[in-house]
């Protein structure tokens, strides 16, 4: 009895919480709309009046200047008004519950919440409790999902590779604690790639990694053989403390992406990273700055993708109100 919280009766996106449960046309629609926003190469995304008069609240319970900024920019380019609410430094430190915070902000007539929270399931929780007219976009919850990041990664891959079906994609690093990886794996499989690989030591893999629809590799060089896309994940510094890894040095020795190792991948392989990168921990500078790196493109595509998601979810709302 799984009622899909993020789709309306017509199967349109009313919230954007996770890639799970979405079908290929959903993702392709977002990519196509993003394409229209990002249409002119080399030129800035044009400001459009689609969400004029709408209020979008960035509700960040975890610090993240860069993700918040891209959401803010995307909202402004859609002509929406943006409120930034850093809850880490306001409400919860005064003992207010998440639901109280939410009720207070709703009283300010927000049309959309963009939520980041350290607990998996936080965006679902908020979506379940907001007023019926309000959309929720998950900007990252715990280790669970970061769907806009995954879609912008798909956008980047499509830009470079066109068709998804023949692709082999390797995701390298801390899969267990990565909401980005979970969303990427689901998006890649939904879009029908040939193979998704995850490459990591056992301590950084979830208990049942294979159940996500991936092949598991522990050796970076073997795992990179013949891949079209290499996605490196950021290794959080705190992973060094919990007996998950012996040292940053050994991690780079085994799992750091160098030019030499990248030779194993296909000659036209691209290298991606959700940022911020740790040079010399998971990726060598020569690769990060090299010709195959598309890391900075990911950042600029992120704006168009977030514009697409925002306009789509609020559009589905408009459709509901009409119907």
């Amino acid at each position: 009895m799984k009622h899909d919280l993020q789709l309306n009766q017509a199967g349109e996106l009313r919230h954007f919480l996770t890639i799970e449960g979405l079908r290929r046309p959903h993702l392709e629609q977002i990519l196509d709309i993003a394409e229209s926003f990002a249409a002119l190469p080399g030129r800035q995304v044009k400001k459009v009046p689609l969400l004029r008069g709408r209020i979008i609240t960035n509700l960040f319970f975890e610090n993240s200047t860069r993700t918040r900024t891209t959401f803010e920019l995307a909202a402004k380019l859609l002509s929406a008004d943006v409120i930034n609410f850093n809850v880490g430094v306001s409400a919860t430190s005064k003992g207010e519950t998440l639901l109280d915070t939410l009720r207070n902000l709703e009283a300010m007539h927000s049309d959309m919440f963009v939520v980041r929270h350290s607990h998996s399931g936080a965006a679902h929780f908020i979506a379940r409790h907001v007023n019926p007219g309000v959309s929720v976009i998950n900007a990252g919850d715990g280790w669970h999902a970061h769907p806009t990041q995954a879609v912008l990664d798909m956008f980047t891959i499509r830009k470079h590779k066109g068709d998804f079906t023949p692709l082999r994609v390797a995701i390298v690093g801390d899969i267990q604690h990565s909401r980005v990886a979970r969303s990427q794996i689901m998006a890649l499989n939904t879009l029908g790639v040939t193979e998704v690989r995850v490459i990591a030591p056992c301590t950084l893999l979830p208990a049942e990694a294979r159940s996500l629809g991936v092949h598991v590799y522990h050796d970076l060089e073997t795992g990179l053989e013949e891949v079209d896309v290499v996605i490196m994940l950021r290794l959080q510094r705190e992973r060094m403390d919990g007996a998950l890894l012996p040292s940053a040095h050994e991690y780079f020795q085994l799992y750091g992406l160098t030019e030499k190792r990248l030779q194993r991948a296909r000659p036209d392989a691209i290298v991606m990273h959700p940022g911020p990168i740790n040079r010399g921990v998971e990726i060598a500078s020569e690769v990060a700055d090299g010709s195959r790196s598309v890391i900075l493109q990911q950042v600029s595509y992120g704006i168009a993708v977030r514009m697409a998601v925002m306009s789509l979810t609020l559009g589905a709302r408009a459709g509901e109100q009409r119907g």
């Binding site: 998440l98 998996s120 399931g121 679902h124 929780f125 280790w143 979970r182 208990a207």
Partner: protein, 430 residues
């Protein structure tokens, strides 16, 4: 109704696993005790006759390991609210865990609970005293004093003992007084901040997992310490099939070992938390379908002696948070019997065996003169209609905690009357 009222329970199927009775027999109660079974005692004059034809008459249920929340957590529930819920569930004896505030590590706290329960009068409340002071896992609690004051067992509850030496000393000291130990065995380091079973669902939802090994490692340790110290160990609320296999094996050499399972573990599994359902957040977590089936099998084979509710009522806000921040636990008193009867319906247990798991068996584990119907014994009786089909509704619960994943479930078998010490404590208006 006064305590001296004579009650005649007529025409019911008398089911008393302790004596092996299972036939249509009348029951005669007076002065809070069972006076006779079958034939009325000489000169018996009933003040009240309860027609139990077509119904099952069994000993009042004993729930081993509940949280009544008082003192300290009255915003969740109170002794008054939870003993009312117990009566509605056919339960006449509640064995409460030491995790109140202050914890039950001195006779004074227990005395407070005892008096309040006595004043409420809806059910017998017994206590499991603390194994260590403040449950901190460092200094032993004054177990002899707790026993003298009436505590029926000792436990460190969900405050797991990380220090194996403290665990050993606590078990040795408890066995000095032949006090049963209620063990919630789980390795706190392996559990860490986990909130669901470490499996496919945790992998997909990105929730911190609790590996099965958190339980098996701790059960293995506690079995070894039990063997070493000769303590009377009762393993409480097991969740993994592997742990119960180890216990089954250890029992062959030690008849004093026993185990229980929370009723929800026999119906729910890890996939029930999908969609971040906080009402399925329990401790220990819901495990795999395989674990559920092995627990059911172990129950059928007698390796698990007792079914309990693991009753943990919460205020609504405790479950209104993102999943990892919610409080674990289910308010289970009112679903204990209906779910157990469903096990019978599904062929896991016979009805007498099922009732034994709720009456005679918990009494045996804790050495209580309860859970049976015999002349002279306390007149604690549960009467239920085994054919009544009804829908369980969270809204209508008597417990102050409405946290249940069973809202809307349809059950066959419903309590029609509960008597505690010869007084009717529950009888629905018809």
């Amino acid at each position: 109704m006064t305590e001296t009222a004579n009650i005649h329970i007529r025409g019911g199927r008398l089911l008393d696993p302790a004596s092996g009775t299972d036939e249509e027999l009348d029951l005669f109660l007076g002065e809070g005790r069972v006076l006779a079974i079958g034939e009325a005692p000489a000169g018996f004059q009933a003040h009240q006759v309860i027609d139990a034809s077509g119904q099952v008459v069994c000993p009042g249920l004993i729930d081993l390991g509940v949280y009544l929340r008082e003192p300290g957590f009255e915003h969740k529930a109170t002794i008054a609210s939870e003993t009312r819920a117990a009566a509605r569930g056919g339960i006449t004896t509640l064995v409460c865990m030491p995790e109140t505030d202050p914890v039950i590590d001195t006779p004074a706290t227990w005395e407070l609970i005892r008096r309040r329960a006595k004043a409420c009068g809806n059910a017998r409340v017994l206590a499991v005293g603390a194994l260590t002071q403040r449950l901190a896992g460092e200094q032993l609690a004054e177990m002899a004093a707790l026993k003298a004051a009436g505590c029926v067992a000792v436990s460190n509850g969900r405050h797991r003992l990380a220090n194996t030496l403290v665990a050993r000393r606590a078990m040795e000291y408890a066995s000095t007084f032949d006090l049963p130990l209620v063990l919630c065995s789980e390795d706190p380091h392996l559990k860490a901040n986990g909130c669901v079973h470490e499996g496919a669902i945790a992998t997909r939802l990105g929730l911190p997992g609790i590996p099965s090994a958190a339980e098996t490692v701790a059960v293995a340790r506690d079995l070894a310490l039990t063997e070493h110290t000769g303590s009377r160990s009762h393993f409480h609320t097991l969740s993994t099939g592997r742990a119960i296999e180890m216990i089954a094996q250890a029992r062959r050499g030690n008849r004093r070992l026993s185990a229980d399972v929370a009723i929800h573990q026999l119906f729910l599994q890890e996939s029930d938390v999908d969609g971040f359902r906080a009402e399925c957040h329990v401790d220990p977590p819901l495990r795999t379908l395989g674990d559920r089936d092995r627990l059911r099998q172990a129950l059928g084979e007698g390796h698990i002696d007792v079914i309990c509710s693991d009753h943990q009522p919460h205020e609504a806000d405790a479950k209104r948070e993102p999943f990892p921040a919610t409080a674990p636990g289910i308010s289970g008193l009112e679903t204990l019997l209906p779910l157990t009867l469903r096990l019978v319906e599904e062929g896991v247990l016979t009805l007498p065996h099922a009732i034994a798991c709720l009456t005679a068996n918990p009494a045996a584990v804790l050495n209580l003169p309860l859970g049976r119907l015999e002349p002279g014994g306390s007149a604690d009786v549960c009467i239920f209609d085994p054919e009544a089909v009804w829908e369980f509704s969270a809204e209508k619960m008597a417990s102050a905690g409405r946290n249940t994943p069973f809202d809307g479930w349809e059950f066959r078998g419903r309590v029609t009357c509960t008597l505690f010490e010869g007084r009717i404590t529950y009888r629905p208006e018809t």
